[in-house]
């Protein structure tokens, strides 16, 4: 099930709601037929029940969240019409609850499905019809006014529900967006802190002692400078050849550099597209080239995706060698 939009908090268009509309009609029908003996002319109440069924059909066939105008008009019109058709056909003391209840239920549903004003127009007409009936029948004005007031109060509650829940929906949308931003910001903060902590710990171990030595007052020796050159090269490797940051490779590169070999490690690959077995083979060949080099330059480069080779290893010194490391797939 796809989640409802915040505007549809009280969406009454689902299967459950449609079943309910018909179940409600079933209840009214049962009550109407149960009190059949209260009717003087059964044909009019039966026409009213047919009209109710038609309105139920119109409401349940309309799947939009906001009821279409014809369906809403049908739901609204049937309320006062049912009073006109049924009320004067009742014997003295006859059972009225079924049509009053069904009419109010239609107005309530029309109101909840986005036609608040129209529902209130129907309610005013419905109340007027009830009062006219009360004044002109055995029911009496007082009882009719009380019944009309109670039905109007139900529509007040329906309107409060519709308006309140729509307003709540808008508020939920805003709060949900804020919570999402907050959650993203917290996650970003944590991730950045974690990344920073890991990298700084690494730098504290490898580079900070060298920087402290440079910043100090002790004169630097040639040995110090060689150590700085190796550290600087390793930092460059870390920036340019992230895929080649393996211990054995770092150790071999450091040893080669300490022998005076110029080592250039480059990574133009896409880390997500790199096969780990290929990378291991490439590292094996690079380590061998570095171990064998005594002078000149060793350049190892991981190639971008789409090439036949995963990378190239070139040793250009007293001995020249070039390896194109093919991709396994």
């Amino acid at each position: 099930m796809s989640p409802p939009s915040p505007r549809q908090i009280v969406s009454l268009t689902g299967t459950g709601a449609r079943i309910f509309v018909w179940a409600y009609f079933g209840g009214s029908l049962a009550l109407a037929l149960w009190t059949f003996s209260d009717w003087t002319r059964p044909v009019l109440p039966l026409i009213t029940l047919a009209l109710y069924a038609a309105v139920c059909l119109a409401i349940t066939l309309d799947r939009r969240d906001r009821l279409s105008l014809p369906a809403a008009l049908a739901g609204v019109a049937v309320a006062p019409l049912s009073v006109v058709l049924v009320a004067w056909q009742l014997v003295d003391g006859g059972y009225t609850a079924w049509y009053v209840g069904e009419a109010t239920a239609f107005l309530f549903l029309v109101n909840l499905r986005g036609r608040v004003l129209l529902a209130w127009v129907g309610c005013v007409l419905f109340d007027a019809a009830l009062i006219v009936w009360g004044v002109t029948s055995w029911a009496g004005a007082e009882d009719a006014i009380l019944t009309a007031t109670r039905q109007s109060a139900i529509l007040v509650i329906g309107t409060l529900t519709a308006v309140g829940l729509r307003r709540t929906g808008r508020r939920i949308r805003k709060l949900t967006a804020e919570a999402s931003v907050r959650s993203a910001a917290e996650a970003a903060g944590l991730a950045a802190a974690e990344e920073r902590a890991g990298r700084l710990a690494d730098l504290r171990e490898t580079v900070v002692p060298l920087l402290e030595r440079i910043a100090g007052d002790t004169p630097l020796t040639d040995e110090d400078r060689r150590e700085f050159a190796v550290a600087e090269a390793e930092l460059r490797d870390g920036l340019r050849a992230r895929g080649l940051r393996q211990h054995r490779l770092v150790d071999a590169a450091r040893a080669a550099r300490s022998r005076g070999v110029d080592v250039v490690l480059l990574d133009d690959s896409d880390p997500d597209a790199l096969d780990l077995d290929d990378l291991d083979r490439f590292a094996d060949i690079t380590v061998a080239a570095l171990d064998n080099a005594t002078d000149g330059r060793v350049t190892a480069r991981l190639l971008p995706p789409g090439r036949d080779s995963i990378g190239t290893v070139v040793a250009d010194g007293t001995h020249y060698s070039r390896h194109d490391v093919p991709r396994s797939r």
Partner: protein, 390 residues
């Protein structure tokens, strides 16, 4: 408020407020009936029954903004039970005389008040059971309270209560179910946003630290490697600066605050002047909105690196340099350029990492940020940093 049940808590609160208002309205409409029927029941039963039935929902509505969803559920559950107790104790509470046949006990007119809370607290099956239980109980009460004369009328009223109060129950069930679906969808969206933000932040931090390593650490080590005594002072300054930068990063906690345009221009001017005392920053346009801290950082660091590159690679004394900051509400643009030796951007020497790592990487790591480099051998270089505020 707990974000994982945000929608549900809000919807429950709205329903409880509507319920409170509804009960207040029906307290007024039922007052006449309650008073008329008062003589048929014991006052010791009537007072607590009226106070509970008509008093609790408005109280819950009033305090709904200050109590948790859990406490609200507890209050509504107890109210549901109390309402049912009031209904089933109606007949035992009678003094003896039966009600007139046309007078239904007053809880019959407000059945939904006792059944809607169940739809908020429990699953739909239980909520429907509560509707059925209340309606059956009211039919029985209707029958016995009027002297057990008309079973048919009592059953009809019971059926009507069942049908009519179910409207409110289904509205509450739909609203709660939709609110929970919204909460579940929001939870998924939040997790996804957090994952994306985490990856972006990691990349940003990565780029920032790469730039620090390049600009400060590698520079310090490089100069220390080549120094034969003549640069010792400045090499020491560079090393201390690198250590200070590491210390500053180590102490960094949380997100720094966004900056005003004037402060941003001032910072930019300051970092550029540090490197080249003759360079003037030209500021064009204006902007009232603040500039996010990460954008300000990226611009300051990117512009510094662009100028450092120019000083290092563009050539000797005759080279003219410029820096321009263009401000508007839509975007912020910084341009650093020279008319020096230039280079072919397609064949950048791997040792010239500045432009690749420091500038592009840093600006790319900022949302809506970008950097472009225009350069032609012999005709100078222009680095443009752009951030679109949208």
């Amino acid at each position: 408020m707990n974000d994982s049940a945000l929608a549900e808590a809000r919807v429950v609160r709205t329903i409880v407020i509507v319920l409170g208002v509804a009960v207040a309205i029906y307290a007024l409409l039922s007052a006449g009936t309650v008073l008329a029927e008062a003589k048929y029941v014991h006052p010791a039963w009537l007072f607590p029954a009226v106070i509970i039935v008509f008093g609790v929902p408005p109280v819950l509505a009033t305090i709904s903004g200050r109590i948790s969803l859990r406490v609200m559920h507890l209050g509504l559950a107890l109210y549901t039970i109390a309402f049912l107790v009031v209904v089933v104790t109606w007949v035992p509470a009678m003094r003896g005389d039966a009600l007139p046949l046309d007078a239904a006990p007053w809880p019959l007119g407000i059945t939904a008040v006792g059944t809607v809370p169940a739809a908020i607290v429990w699953r739909p099956a239980i909520a429907w059971l509560v509707v059925i239980a209340n309606s059956m109980a009211l039919a029985i009460v209707r029958y016995f309270s009027t002297g057990a004369l008309d079973l048919q009328l009592a059953l009809q009223d019971g059926l009507f209560c069942l049908v009519f109060s179910s409207i409110f129950t289904i509205v509450a069930i739909v609203a709660i179910r939709n609110a929970r679906a919204l909460d579940a969808a929001a939870l998924t969206a939040r997790a996804s946003a957090a994952r994306a933000a985490s990856v972006a932040a990691r990349m940003h931090e990565h780029a920032r630290l790469d730039a620090l390593v390049h600009d400060e650490l590698i520079t310090a080590l490089y100069y220390a490697t080549t120094d034969r005594g003549e640069l010792t002072g400045s090499v020491q300054v560079q090393a201390r600066r690198a250590l200070d930068e590491l210390g500053r990063l180590d102490a960094e906690r949380g997100e720094p605050a966004p900056v005003e345009s004037a402060a941003f221009a001032s910072r930019l001017r300051s970092v550029l002047l540090d490197l080249s005392s003759g360079l003037m920053l030209t500021v064009r346009g204006q902007r009232t909105a603040l500039i996010p801290a990460d954008v300000a950082d990226a611009f300051a660091e990117g512009a510094t690196e662009a100028l450092r590159n120019s000083l290092r690679h563009a050539g000797g004394g005759g080279v003219r340099r410029h820096a321009t900051l263009s401000l508007s509400e839509e975007r912020v643009v910084v341009e650093v350029g020279d008319d020096g030796s230039g280079f072919d951007p397609h064949s950048v020497n791997p040792y010239r990492l500045g432009i690749l790592v420091s500038i592009r990487g840093r600006l790319d790591a900022v949302k809506n940020g970008s950097a472009s480099v225009r350069s032609t051998p012999g005709a100078g270089t222009v680095v443009t940093l752009t951030w679109n505020d949208r």
